[in-house]
């Protein structure tokens, strides 16, 4: 899922400085799971903003704010929007932009989306996939070196790991130690350089 954290309150308030009538949108999917933009967090945000003297014109937690169909159905025609000078979006950047496609108001992000990752518990997440458009997980023992090695090395580790920890951050495993535990094959196979036109802009913007 898309892992996110809330922006510091101070930053949110600064972005809302001249805004008086605010509508809050949460997300029932990833941001709920991360406890950054679900029902509870939306309520909490409403309370805090009211304390700061803002008028909250309404709130909603959309099923998936990243889906135009949902935004059209559940948000676009709400009368409260007419009364609002801005929307505070407690969803990832995909959600915010999807809403922006359909609603002509100032949109303010309340979250910092971090990565596509897995959850150990709330607050402890690991990035697992860079959405590269050409999944290699039939190899590498099902562990993605492109994402989980700090240098994205496909042909084996750098020489820097210590006690199985990455040279860049000793709180994180050197992913090549984990891959090697599962399979030695990748050390014997040559992997071509990746096709980054599939991975980075303008590669994966549209799928028909």
């Amino acid at each position: 899922m898309i892992i996110s954290e809330q922006k510091p309150r101070k930053e949110i308030l600064e972005m809302l400085t001249d805004r008086k009538r605010i509508f809050i949108v949460g997300c029932a999917a990833c941001a709920t799971k991360c406890q950054t933009g679900g029902e509870d967090e939306v309520k909490e945000m409403k309370r805090e903003l009211e304390k700061e003297g803002k008028k909250i014109t309404g709130t909603i937690v959309l099923d998936t704010p990243c889906d135009e169909r949902i935004v059209k159905k559940d948000l676009s025609s709400l009368p409260a929007l007419k009364n609002s000078d801005s929307l505070l979006i407690m969803a990832c950047g995909v959600g915010l932009q999807t809403i922006g496609n359909l609603i002509d108001r100032l949109l303010v992000p309340a979250l910092n989306p971090l990565f596509a990752g897995t959850t150990e518990r709330i607050g402890r997440y690991y990035e697992y996939c860079s959405l590269c458009g050409d999944c290699l997980l039939d190899e590498f023992g099902g562990i993605c070196p492109l994402t989980r090695c700090a240098k994205g090395l496909l042909n084996g580790p750098c020489g820097g790991a210590r006690d199985g920890k990455c040279e860049v951050n000793d709180e994180v495993d050197c992913i090549w130690a984990l891959i090697y535990e599962k399979t030695k094959e990748p050390l014997k196979t040559y992997y071509e350089s990746r096709d980054y036109k599939k991975i980075l802009q303008p590669g994966k913007r549209v799928v028909r």
Binding site: A150, K151, G152, L153, L154, N155, G156, P157, C158, G159, G160, A161, R162, D163, E167, V168, N169, W176, Y180, K184, L187, K188, Y190, Y191, E192, S193, Y196
Partner: protein
């Protein structure tokens, strides 16, 4: 063929060392050091913004060293350049008569002095070795023909203290298949580590030049020990007792070289700014 490459192909013992390009354009100090190494070492590595600390281009420094009659080994990391820049620099090196290239991934930007920089790693070292060999066939990575074909003597790095060692050996074999002709290793301090390593590389088919590090103080030795480069207790004791740690560090380097020199292809001296000590170390170790 470069002088260094000829030396690799001979049965002779190989001696290399490294120089760190400065932050800035003043090469006075570096060139003074280089002058003293002339005729004493077979190759001088020029590091590529080592520890991810921004320095003057190693390619420029290699060119100047070559003009002064030294034999440079151009260190090229995958950290800062995508495949276009890497190929372009390889061609540039060749046009300047710089054949010896040591290929490595490069320390990650976050540990250096520009931690905000975008890490590149478009190619990994194995892919870059292959790419250099592709250029030698007159073609670039996109399959386009080159006008004027480069020639390289390619090296890679290895870490004899890596655990599990078997993984490191597989990695070295992969690098040889990709085109590495020589390796320069992380420093070795402990003879058991050396023996273990040596046994496993006998069939590698590339020259392995063993890293020898000049310990300048007890503190430095402890630091190296902490990062997993097993320093024998005896050395720590010797460095702890002495009035002149640098001299003792030189003695340790001499002892190490004497102990391994008949059992390896060569040594790579890492003197970390004290390159002026290298001639004396080599002389005392019977290599000068």
């Amino acid at each position: 063929m470069s002088r260094f490459s000829e030396r690799l192909k001979s049965k002779k013992f190989i001696i290399t060392c490294e120089l760190f390009p400065p932050k800035g354009t003043d090469l006075t100090n570096l060139l003074e050091k280089a002058e003293r190494l002339k005729g004493i070492v077979d190759g001088v590595n020029v590091t590529d913004s080592q520890r991810a600390i921004m320095r003057i281009s190693p390619l420029a420094v290699c060119h100047i060293l070559k003009e002064k009659g030294l034999e440079p080994i151009f260190q090229l990391t995958c950290r800062d350049r995508n495949r276009i820049a890497l190929q372009s620099d390889l061609l540039g090196a060749s046009a300047l008569g710089i054949e010896n290239v040591l290929i490595l991934s490069g320390d990650h930007p976050t540990i250096g002095d520009h931690p905000e920089a975008k890490p590149v790693y478009d190619l990994d070292p194995v892919q870059l070795l292959k790419t250099a060999r592709t250029l030698e066939k007159g073609e670039d990575l996109a399959g386009r023909r080159l006008k004027g074909i480069p020639k390289f003597c390619l090296g890679a790095v290895a870490n004899p203290s890596f655990e599990p060692l078997e993984l490191q050996i597989l990695m070295m074999e992969k690098k040889v298949r990709a085109g590495a002709e020589f390796f320069q290793t992380q420093p070795i301090f402990d003879l058991k580590t050396f023996k273990n390593f040596k046994e496993k590389i006998s069939k590698l088919g590339a020259k392995v030049i063993i890293g020898i590090f000049l310990l300048k103080s007890l503190k430095m030795a402890q630091l190296m020990d902490d990062i997993g480069l097993k320093i024998p207790k005896e050395y720590l004791k010797r460095l702890g007792k002495t009035e002149d740690p640098l001299k003792e560090g030189m003695n340790i380097a001499v002892d190490l070289i004497k102990n391994i020199k008949n059992e390896c292809d060569g040594v790579h001296l890492m003197a970390l700014g004290k390159e002026e000590c290298i001639p004396e170390i080599l002389r005392k170790a019977g290599l000068g």
